[in-house]
Structures are given as structure tokens and as C-alpha cells.
Symmetry: C2
Subunit: 308 residues, 2 copies
């Protein structure tokens, strides 16, 4: 079992979907990644920043799941990062209603001393130079660095992003972002070009269409579980990344074969995340439910074929 | 091994893609379905209609692949159905430039006498009452009826479509069509509603995102093989249907388990179809190539997971 460092936002979200709306609830990439990874009972820390308005209860939620929160800086006279969004009827697109960076504007992540020798680092979606500063604090090169990013940084901080992903083993992005970063429409060609930029493994998230894992000439396709109802997609991508990284940290096996299983774990956890608002479903999830759904993934994709 | 009746257009296509354009070449749903199914060396017939302008060479292409063409009516003083389309840069959308129905306008399919006892019937995309007239000619209820259709008939001939699919075992449609036919956004709920309309099996084609097979509470997801380049998508859906149905006719096993394998065969053949213009790739396809790609599908989707 490896130690895991997670950097990412810890935030308030207010979400509106066709099914209803929430007040300010617990959100943020670091939160979703941490909660997903905590299902593997690993030794993890979330490095982040919040304001004095952030309830201690929310920190306790993480601590109670064995997540070290000493790396979450509390700015007593500051306000926590706040995001509000409204999903359209198809749940595949959304409008951002409010983005208040607040304390996030001056976020200078500090990795707790006891985690600077961690084998695995998960860089949640943040400015690429902030992601890089976490890597620079590590005492030795981690065995696995996973980076999540988005089109916003490709538009505004491409040079920094290109520098940072040189030091990354796995990048997770969605299909449109893979196309933007590579300038290629074919995802096969896009993945190859992104390989050349640094990451040996490229995970392309396609939402309801699943996820692709590329490594050299190998490719693995994990479908998303077809769901009756997607209640709230917020955090699904981060939950995927947390499940993926958490499983790899637990097993300490960073081979392509094991990453296939990690992708399935990530997809499985993400399929729960979307069933309720925010983190609600992730906070009420049993191992038994996870195993049952992993079994559904097996039925969903496994087939017999005899090649004569 | 079961006899297979295919009804569908045999046509001229003129295709323009970002990679080039063709003159009038061999096309039509019946053609693509027939060619795909012929890979299984089954006893099949294509029921269709062409004009006096249709080259005998094209009929020979089918005959040479053991496809019975006696059900293709030749209207000597008529012209063959002609379709022309232009694909956009993303290859996922296209504009129809020309549709000349010609002899297709008065198509009255006649199933050859020796095929009226066929176990398997594949109804290619046509007016649903034309599809129904084929079923009415069968001497006994086929063991498997597969129907392909499209949004056009949902717009213009919904009542006929609803009548026809009552007699169908498997319907193949794309995701948008499944949503239109059912009035439901979730594909899981859409499939359930379509079940209630008749078909026990619902295949939802999602193009580059693969295909879903639904039966009662069971679901199977076959991804599409990620391709470096999609050269021409024309006929991919029909090739999928032909591979799916051909495999089932060959094995005579219409269980859900065997349909999973059939979906993989369909996806495999469709992945070849898009590599060249029109039928070109399908006419130059070896068993060895097919087996190799089936093996790629296995690597693409199979994973090990131990549930503890």
C-alpha cells in the first residue's frame, strides 16, 4: 500500500438540475477525489485551502474516512471557493452561474512533511503551476503522478500545462480536451501526441460513453454503466480519478494491466456519484454495493468468443 | 445454420468526405447487410429492386459471395435508387445532397419461394409497411426477426412503424432515434419502453461510442474500436446489422449470451467498413483479418477483477 497525496479544491457548490437544487453543499475536486480514494483504506492526504466559513463538520467527514486534513490550510478571515452551476435537461452540458475564487486565488499548496515521500500523487484540476509546485515539494520522484486538467488551462496557461505534464505519468482529460490539447480529431492520434508530451498513460473520459485508457499501442475501453437516471453529474470526473488513483495506490502495481482494473473501479465509483446531489451518495456507500456494481460492469462488458 | 432473408436497398451512392469523393459506387443497406452477413458462409438472399442501369458486375459481386440475388427485381426501363452525401470534418454528421428514389418508389418486395421458410429475417431500413410485407410472405413465423429503422419513419410513418415492430425480435436504432421513439432521454428507460412495444431485444447504436444491447434487465455494452482514421462511415450501421444477424443465423442460437458475441462481430465488421469508401474494404476482407480484430476487441474490453 502506498501513501497518496491529493491536491485539489475543497469548496462549496450550489447545484441546480432538472431534479431540484441545493444550497451551498460540500464540493470541490479535492473532496471528490479524496472521498473516492478513501474507499481503498489507504493513507492519503488532501492538500487544499478553505476559508473561516468552512464547517469543521466537513473536515471531520474527511478525517473520519482516514483522510489526513493537515494539508488543508484554513484562512480564518477568508471565504471558501464557491461554484454554482445549472445543468441542462440532457445533463451533458451546464452553465456556470457563479465562480467565486476567494481564498483559492492565493493558493500555495503545502504538502505535509510526512507525505513528502508518498509514492503516488494525484494532481486535481488546478492551475498547472500550482500542480507543479506540489511535485517540486516531493522528496523523491513519486512512482505514479496522475494529473487532471481542463480546457480552461489550455486556453489560459498552455505553456505551464505543457511544462507540468512532462512530469506526469497519467493524464485524465475529456475527449474534447484531448482534441484541443493535441490538435487531432481522432482520439487514437490525439492520445499518441499527448504521449509524446510526457504522460505514458492517457485516460480520455467520455462521460456517459465511458473512458479510454491509452498506453503505447495498447488501448482499453471501459464503458459507463447505463443508468436509469443521472441525478447530478457534479464530481463524477473527480470521483473517477480518485477511484482510479486510489486503487493503484492500494495495489502499488502501476502496470497497464492493473490500470485497466483501476479504470473499472473509477467508473464504478463515478456511477454512484451521479445518483445523488454532490457528495451525498459517496458518503453513504458500502463495500457490498461497490462489489455488486463491479459485478455489473463485468456482465456489461465480458463476452465469450472462440476464434477458430 | 439458418437461411437468412435480407430486405434492403441496393443503390448507387456518391460520397464526399474530407479525404476525397467518389463517383456513383455500389451502396444501399441491403448491399452492406448482405456483404457483412456473407462472411459467415450462410445461405442468404437479398430482396431488393434496381433499374436497368445497375451493372451486372455488381450483382455478380453478391452472387460470388453466395448471396442469392433472385429476389432483386430489375426494372429495365427504370433507374436505380441514388443517394449522395457529404460528411463534415468530424465525420459524425453529414448533409444529404441528392436522394433520387427512382425504382424504389414502387418497391414491392417478393421473397423468393425457397426462402419463405427461412429462420432469420433482417429488415433493412425501409418504409415499415414494406418491411411488414416481407414478414407477411413468410410461410412460418421466423425464429428471429431483426429490424433496422430511422428517425425519418418515426416522423412520417409512426403508426406503421409501431405496427411492424410488434412482430420483431430485435430492433436496431441509434441513440437519438431510441430517444425519439420512446420519448425518454435515459437509454435504459428508452430501451424498456421499446421492449414494451414488441422487440424483446433492443440494440442502440452509438457510432464511435459503440453499441448497447438490452434484454429485460440485462445490458451489454460493446465499444467501437478506437480508430486512427474514419475514412467513410457510409454503411457502417448496416454492416453492423449484417454482421450481427449473420452470426446469429450461422449459429442458430438466439440467446442473450450469444447475441453479445453477435454484437461484437457486428462492431468488428463495421470497424472495417469505415476504412475505405463504400463497400471497398468489405470486398477485400479476409477471415484472418477478422479474427485479428476480434482479438483486439477482446484486449480492448476484457479485464480481471477479483471481488473479495
Amino acid at each position: 500500500m502506498s501513501k497518496l497525496v491529493i491536491v485539489g479544491t475543497v469548496a462549496f457548490d450550489a447545484i441546480e438540475t432538472p431534479f431540484g437544487k441545493t444550497d451551498k453543499i460540500l464540493g470541490g475536486a479535492g473532496t471528490f477525489i479524496g472521498l473516492a480514494a478513501s474507499n481503498f483504506n489507504i493513507d492519503s492526504t488532501v492538500v487544499s485551502i478553505v476559508g473561516g466559513d468552512f464547517p469543521k463538520d466537513y473536515l471531520d467527514i474527511m478525517s473520519n474516512r482516514n483522510i489526513d486534513v493537515s494539508g488543508i490550510e484554513i484562512v480564518e478571515d477568508g471565504k471558501t471557493f464557491f461554484w454554482s452551476g445549472k445543468y441542462h435537461n440532457d445533463m451533458n452540458s451546464r452553465d456556470t452561474l457563479v465562480t467565486e475564487l476567494n481564498v483559492l486565488e492565493h493558493f500555495n499548496p503545502i504538502v505535509p512533511e510526512s507525505y513528502k515521500d508518498a509514492e503516488v500523487v494525484m494532481l486535481g484540476n488546478l492551475h498547472p503551476s500550482v500542480q507543479m509546485s506540489v511535485l517540486n515539494q516531493m522528496h523523491k520522484t513519486p512512482k505514479l503522478v496522475v494529473l487532471d486538467t481542463m480546457n480552461f488551462w489550455m486556453d489560459c496557461a498552455l505553456d505551464d500545462l505543457v511544462k507540468t505534464i512532462k512530469h506526469v505519468d497519467v493524464i485524465t482529460i475529456n475527449d474534447e480536451e484531448a482534441r484541443q490539447l493535441s490538435g487531432e480529431y481522432s482520439l487514437v492520434v490525439a492520445a499518441r501526441k499527448i504521449h509524446e508530451m510526457g504522460p505514458k498513460y492517457v485516460v480520455i473520459k467520455k462521460g456517459e460513453h465511458g473512458a479510454l485508457l491509452f498506453h503505447d499501442d495498447n488501448v482499453f475501453y471501459a464503458p459507463a454503466l447505463p443508468l436509469e437516471e443521472v441525478f447530478d453529474p457534479t464530481g463524477a470526473g473527480d470521483t473517477f480519478a480518485g477511484g482510479f488513483t486510489g486503487y493503484l495506490a492500494k495495489t502499488g502495481d502501476y502496470s497497464f494491466e492493473n490500470m485497466k482494473t483501476a479504470v473499472i473501479y473509477g467508473s464504478t465509483l463515478a456511477s454512484f456519484c451521479v445518483e445523488k446531489f454532490g457528495t451525498e451518495r459517496m458518503l453513504n456507500l458500502t463495500d457490498k454495493e461497490i462489489y455488486k456494481r463491479l459485478d455489473q460492469f463485468k456482465s456489461l462488458t465480458q463476452f465469450d468468443i472462440e476464434l477458430t
